[in-house]
């Protein structure tokens, strides 16, 4: 007898896939994301994995998760508490159950609830046996290991290999539940395991096994999340790492500059090095240096030689690069430094996100050493911010720091594929051969930008010396005179301030004037925008501004700040941007600060905003 199935339409759903590091949860999440993108949902994702590569199997430390928030509306965050939790073992259940919403859907791999795994997770008794979960959640106890074993019966594969396909089984169940097609995943399997047909077969069988389980089991509700009405155009799904790398490649193509990327392995920035290393066919040179200092030194040396030098790291590595950033400031050479921020201080939380390197970016050097700082707001915005960083570094002959973070590089969103022609022109002018017989003046400046010329070795008649010792303006000779140092310090400051000419007018979401401005920078953009949407819907007089340029700040920000009674600055740090805003504009900005290794929740910002407005 066919069971009766009810279809329920939802605006948005948050699913969290959780399991052991070896359970393939990032893959399940990634495939669900890709499929949701193809069916046209708006979405946002948050992978969360342990710093240990392979913590003991079944342990709490080894739990890895992937959260996806998908919707028929525009969304800006990876969601707060999940509506659905997939727990592939007791440890995953233990770690994540407390976040599942009351009444939420819980999908368990029943076969993983063995005495050994229960003990590892610290369970005294088996929660899947005592019905305690059923009081609070809609639980599906699925024998995934058994399902895949049966599905792969007769195949000549080790049982361990077959067992490993259970992540596809879990995915199949969810595809059934949320009415999504299997084809994109099957196509992907065919592509990925081209040379291993038996692996394709096993995984495809596991996927179908999960899907068919939905068809036949006692699940009676399926959910429909319609397409989102996004702006028209061609889309793809993108994470911040790839977006930044594409920004670099776009800079290379538009400027016709050679790119030299030098870095040292560090979480969560290494993927930039990996991605760019595959693009040698585009003329991008990559260099894995012996340490962080060498990474930036090689990049700066390449810039000196007429390539655009780029380095990437995370907080601890940026700390080591500080002296070289100062040298780049002094020698006025282009340089792009991508800081993928993670939890600090020291080694901190290598795989978790944080925004706590802002003051390091602005001030973390000896002397008066101003550096341009730009912060992407979303994974897709990493493309634009990185391109702009490259362009400004060359135009103003200055180091530019891109303040990305762990959430941006690993998180993903649907991305309206840009046309590079729409980006600002990227013009490069090297100093030309000097056959005049007159002495070349390396610190002669462009009147408008104050940038000095880019005079690269190999160009006749431009022989000159630069270095970290204070330079005489114009001639570039070593100079210790008091007035010259004052002039050069002022000039270096002013040069960075001149970048305001490059900043587009600030856009304001929500009320242009009113009770409260929510001001964000970097990756808190999404949570702040969602919070503002909610507040506006509830008729609060609230606006949201997200700044991309932090040094210099947008020139219209001062005026905007004056249009609100109060200013709230949510940050994943203890109030670093608030400090800047308070000191720059002498306003009593209030913070909402949390450092828990994850993005902020919009609801907490909403609560804080309401509290402020009602004060």
């Amino acid at each position: 007898m066919a069971k009766k199935i009810k279809f329920q339409t939802l605006d948005e759903v948050t699913i969290r896939f959780a399991g052991d590091s070896g359970d393939g949860m990032q893959l399940s999440g990634g495939r669900f994301t890709q499929t949701s993108a193809i069916v046209g949902n708006d979405l946002s994702t948050l992978p969360d994995f342990p710093a240990e590569i392979r913590a003991p199997a079944g342990s709490l430390a080894g739990v890895s998760s992937f959260q996806i928030h998908f919707s028929s509306k525009e969304i800006h965050t990876p969601g707060e508490k999940p509506d659905v939790l997939v727990a592939m073992n007791p440890a995953a259940l233990k770690v994540h159950l407390k976040e599942l919403i009351p009444g939420g859907i819980l999908i368990l791999n029943k076969n993983a609830f063995t005495p050994k795994n229960l003990k590892l997770a610290g369970y005294e008794s088996d929660p899947t046996e005592d019905a305690s979960l059923d009081d609070y959640y809609s639980v599906h106890y699925i024998e995934m290991s058994k399902l895949v074993t049966n599905a792969c019966e007769g195949m000549d594969l080790p049982s361990k290999t077959i067992e490993r396909t259970k992540n596809l089984c879990a995915l199949g169940v969810l595809f059934w539940m949320y009415d999504r097609p299997l084809e994109p995943t099957i196509d992907w399997l065919n592509q990925k395991f081209k040379s291993k047909p038996e692996i394709i077969d096993a995984n495809t069988r596991a996927l179908h096994a999960g899907y068919n389980y939905g068809e036949t089991a006692e699940i009676t509700t399926r959910y429909v999340v319609e397409k989102a009405s996004l702006p028209a155009g061609k889309y793809r799904n993108i994470n911040g790492t790839l977006a930044s790398c594409l920004g670099i490649l776009t800079a290379a193509e538009k400027s016709q500059l050679n790119i030299a990327f030098a870095g040292y392995p560090i979480t969560p920035a290494s993927n930039l090095l990996h991605t760019l290393s595959n693009w040698k066919n585009f003329g991008i040179k990559t260099f894995q240096a012996e340490d962080e200092i060498a990474g930036i030194g090689v990049a700066l040396g390449a810039s000196y030689g007429g390539s655009l030098g780029i380095t990437a790291s995370s907080g601890p590595g940026i700390a080591l690069k500080g002296e070289f950033i100062g040298l780049a400031v002094m020698t006025e050479l282009p340089l792009v430094i991508i800081n993928v921020q993670r939890g600090g201080p020291s080694t901190g939380l290598p795989t978790k996100t944080e925004q706590s390197d802002l003051l390091q970016a602005l001030y973390g050097r000896n002397g008066e050493a101003p550096v341009a700082v730009i912060a992407p707001a979303t994974p897709g915005d990493c493309y634009f911010a990185t391109y702009e960083a490259c362009r400004i570094a060359v135009k103003y002959m200055t180091p530019v720091m891109v303040l990305s973070d762990g959430y941006l590089v690993n998180g993903s969103e649907p991305w309206l594929i840009p046309n590079p022609d729409d980006l600002k022109d990227f013009i490069v002018k090297f100093e030309k051969e000097n056959t005049s017989g007159e002495k070349f003046l390396p610190y002669k400046r462009d009147k408008k930008t104050l940038a000095r010329g880019w005079a690269i070795p190999g160009t006749k008649g431009l022989e000159h010396r630069i270095g970290g010792i204070e330079k005489q303006n114009i001639t570039g000779n070593v100079n210790y005179e008091p007035d010259n140092h004052q002039e050069m310090t002022d000039t270096r400051y002013q040069k960075i301030q001149n970048i305001v000419d490059e900043i587009d007018p600030t856009s304001i979401y929500g009320k242009k004037k009113g009770d409260l401005l929510i001001l964000s920078w970097g990756s808190t953009h999404g949570a702040c925008k969602s919070a503002t949407e909610q507040l506006v819907k509830e008729k609060y007089s609230v606006g949201h501004v997200s700044v991309q340029w932090i040094n210099p700040l947008p020139p219209d920000l001062k005026k905007i700040l004056k249009n609100y009674k109060k200013v709230l600055i949510p940050e994943v740090n203890s109030g670093q941007f608030r400090k800047i805003i308070r000191s720059e504009f002498l306003i009593d900005a209030v913070g909402f600060n949390e450092v828990k290794g994850r993005p902020l929740n919009p609801s907490s910002i909403v609560d804080k905003a309401k509290e402020l407005i009602s004060e």
Binding site: L230, D291, Y304, F324, L327, P457, K460, E463, G467, I469
Partner: protein, 337 residues
């Protein structure tokens, strides 16, 4: 370089006043460098001197070439990046024992193993000069300095031995007072395709005067200096009366004449890494003379050369001829109408 010189020594002298202490060994090194460069280059614009921090690191300011006075210990990184950007340049690193072997030690060893085609001139005066007289990583143990009033406790590095351990392909030693020899070593380093390392013993007459006097004083130097020549026996002494004899695997200093003839003396072979290792152990060894000249010279692939090859190969292999547009539009895409 076979081209006729088009430059004179003065073409390599910058307009900046030289500011080392009077009597400093650096003057001699600078003069020999300026003297030899017209012989080794016809394209001044391709020459770049890169230094770190310290007395020796002021060197680039005095050469009328491209120059970059970087930060303490890090010249190898800038130089590496420069060669990555433009492999055609003639890049020279000038460093000291503190700069190159204390704060910058890590970069030096990796530079050597990568074998980037550039030249390193180490001015080894076995002291910190610019910070006014602390012991350096090449100072002898027990050195009494401002920071070690009771004598230094740490055992020194032997730079040439260290870089050989780091897989250097060209290692030479010379002395600031050996003008012609110094010029010769610069030429040899320039001719080597790869990372060439010249250790130059340099006298700091303010803080470590006489550190190498045994090797420079007329009375002692013939007794203490072993001038290496490829393919020639290792002979030294006032009347060429001594030589290095290999007894099994052990080198020995022997008198030539009675028991040993010149034919018994070990012949230098620059391409032999075992000989190079052995010679590097003669330094600061009471039994052996100090070898100067090319200890080791054997070419192998350079990092910058391999990188260029890999770049070309990647472009050749790229059958799909993907464009930026293709990459932007890669993966699953969908249209929103």
């Amino acid at each position: 370089m076979s081209d006729k010189p088009i430059f004179k020594k003065s073409d390599f002298e910058s307009d900046q006043a030289v500011r080392w202490c009077p009597g400093c060994g650096d003057y001699a090194i600078l003069a020999q460098t300026q003297k030899v460069f017209p012989e080794i280059t016809t394209k001044k614009e391709d020459v770049v001197f890169i230094s770190g921090i310290g007395c020796s690191s002021r060197f680039p300011y005095y050469m009328d070439t491209f120059g970059f006075h970087t930060i303490h210990g890090r010249a190898p990184t800038i130089a590496s990046g420069l060669k990555v950007a433009n492999p055609d340049l003639s890049v020279w690193i000038v460093t000291g024992d503190g700069d190159g072997f204390s704060i910058g030690g890590n970069h030096i060893i990796h530079l050597m193993r990568r074998n980037i085609d550039l030249n390193i001139m180490l001015f080894n005066n076995r002291i910190y000069g610019l910070t006014k007289g602390q012991y350096s990583p090449t100072s002898e143990q027990g050195k009494v300095t401002y920071s070690t009033p009771m004598g230094s406790l740490d055992h020194p590095f032997n730079p040439s031995k260290l870089v050989l351990g780091a897989e250097a392909g060209f290692v030479a030693k010379t002395i600031d007072r050996e003008l012609k020899h110094l010029q010769e070593m610069i030429k040899r380093a320039n001719a080597y395709n790869g990372a060439s390392f010249i250790e130059i013993y340099q006298n700091c007459n303010i803080f470590n005067d006489g550190a190498f006097s045994e090797l420079t004083d007329k009375e002692t130097k013939s007794e203490k200096l072993l001038r290496l020549q490829d393919g020639e026996p290792m002979i030294f002494g006032p009347t060429d009366n001594k030589g290095i004899y290999l007894d099994g695997t052990n080198p020995k200093v022997v008198d030539i004449g009675k028991k040993y003839s010149v034919d018994d003396i070990l012949v230098h072979n620059e391409k032999d890494e075992f000989i190079a290792d052995m010679l590097s152990n003669f330094t600061s060894n009471d039994v052996f003379p100090e070898p100067i000249g090319v200890l080791y010279c054997k070419e192998r692939a350079t990092y910058d050369g391999l990188m260029e090859e890999q770049m070309k190969e990647a472009q050749k292999k790229d059958k799909s001829k993907k464009t930026l547009h293709d990459l932007l539009n890669a993966g699953d895409t969908w249209e929103v109408k």
